[in-house]
């Protein structure tokens, strides 16, 4: 029993290229870590790279690219939306800094 639609992958050569690309991103991540940026800038850089990496993994490794577009359009917005809503906890995290009981 074969699935014709997901059968048309690009072949291993392409995946090896993607794999090399991902390793390069990991290399970049490590190298900027040791350039001792301020934590906030480092976090932004790392997050951008991590999302890039994850995007590549979802798109090619997990074959989302080779499925119908409807699948990606159903799954990814749901995840993005939920993670976006979770961001509403940050204002309270930052308040901790100024409102902590002094004795802690």
């Amino acid at each position: 029993m074969t699935t014709p639609e997901s059968a048309r992958g690009p072949g291993m050569k392409f995946f090896i290229a993607v794999w090399i690309g991902l390793m390069c991103i990991v290399g970049i991540e490590v190298s900027i870590t040791f350039r001792h940026l301020p934590p906030r800038e480092l976090l932004v850089c790392l997050l951008v790279l991590a999302f890039l990496e994850a995007g590549i993994a979802v798109w090619y490794f997990m074959h989302l690219k080779y499925e119908r577009a409807a699948l990606a359009w159903s799954l990814l917005p749901a995840l993005v939306f939920v993670v976006f809503m979770m961001d509403h906890i940050w204002p309270d995290a930052f308040r901790l800094l100024s409102m902590r009981l002094l004795s802690n």
């Binding site: 979770m86 509403h88 204002p91 309270d92 901790l96 802690n104």
Partner: protein, 586 residues
Amino acid sequence: MSEAAHQHGEPTGFIRKYIFSVDHKVIGLQYIGLGIVAVVIGMILSWLMRLHLGWSTLAIPGLEKLSPTGAPANVMTPEYYLSLMTMHGTLMVFFVLTNVPFAGFGNYFLPIQVGAPDMAFPRMNMMSFWVTFTAFLVLIAAFFVPGGPPLSGWTAYAPLSAVGESSGPGEGLGQTLWGLSIAIFCVAQLLGALNFIATTLDLRTKGMSLARMPFSTWAWFITSVIGLLAFAVLLPACILLVLDRVAGTSFFVPGGLVINDRMQPHTGGSPLLWQHLFWFFGHPEVYIAILPAIGIVSHILPAFLRKPLLGPRVLIGCLAAIGFLSYMVWGHHMFVSGMNPFSAILFSVPTLVITIPATIATLLWIGSVYGARIRFSCASLFCLGFISVFISGGISGFFLAQPSIDTYLHATYFVVAHFHFVMGVAAIFAMFAGIYFWLPKMVGRMMNETLGKIHFWLTFVGVYCIFMPMHYLGLAGNVRRYAAFTDDFLAPLVPVHQFITIAALITGAAQFIFLYNLVWSRFRGPKATENPWQATSLEWSTTSPPPFDNFGGRQLVVHQEPYLYGVEGSAGDYVMQTSPETVEAH
């Protein structure tokens, strides 16, 4: 990985057939049965609580046997009151409101309504139930451990729930069991949600396009999507809570706490973090309870109005909108929690916006009742009752959605009235409607209508007597979760509580009429025909009860919209979904 539905034949042994069954119908009944056990326990707990609230020194015979420490000389202690309250909330929210309308009816009827022989993953389905059952046992075990059940409420706010026994009896092993039970429950719900989604999308029979799915199927589908994302947050939250309790971490516990004159070892955590995680799940959970109820009522109502509902697409859109918005509003539980006050506005606006789809749905129901010739039966009465209590409960949401009013009404009986009406009673009414409507299909016997109508009237008037006065108490500032009302301003309100208690006792007793009716009808009720209500959806195109593979080897083909009532059909004033005849528009 992929499990073939129905490669396996019909099992013959008792255990494979009724206990570890992979048949979605048996599993659905198991969920409903578990829900009935939980609801009976939960209701008895609420009786005990109500008695204590009305007469706080009352001796309740036999209570000492249940808990010698919780009720010495049969008089409930304040801490035991809180324990019962916690267990009442947890049982009702998780094991009744989530289990019955969603997992119970959903399991039984979702595959049938889309014309499938079983769920997409029958073995995983069986696992979901037994994991749920395990969660139930773990929770009930809390009654029998030293210290008794936890007393921190179904919301288990840290640090009360996280620091262990020193903060109160029941906060020992009982609270740990609570955390474990809920974590296990999350796993079961996640598995169940996967199954529902795959079944709805993949196993629809020929002609059952998404647009032709009944409201109930839509509601179960949308609910499973909500559950998939919401329980995924509660699961790690409960695990972290248990870690705080048993492994010494401090996720939710700040430093410098002195409890019972003892310095706590924790440092640096945040109690608000637990509330955020809990309510991130908790608010969608409210819709996990109520959306299937809305779906069930919308499914049953047309069969008794003998006309289709107004704007079916709009109604489904409302369900989806409510599901979507449910993730944007969890902070309205936390207006006065010490959350950043700017966030309050951010959460308040979408909360108020939810009233728009909810109002549209309500108006659609009311508008559908207009101009109908209603067939009054227990099922339709409970549907109409549902609309009424849904309005009553929804209206108070206007108040609680606004932080400026919530600052007065938060944690009062106004809130208790609100969520009991809109989530508890409304969903319970839908369950009753579902049982009166579907029991003929599930067991092949009709229920007794006279007993059912007595049950309806007592329940309908009863819930208003119980919960309407709570609004007034809330406006008077009556604080919830109090074991007794000793404050100067609360003492004069006790007569109202006594009235509520009496109403609760009577209403609760009326439920035994229902249980009797259920058991009696199961064995002695008149035999049900294939389609006793002259309804149109696929579950009425098979025998009552349906055979193992639902349709006896037939592969149904769907030709019609789901609710063709009040038309000229070959069978009468309705056209079945499977009927190939052409129907003229009304």
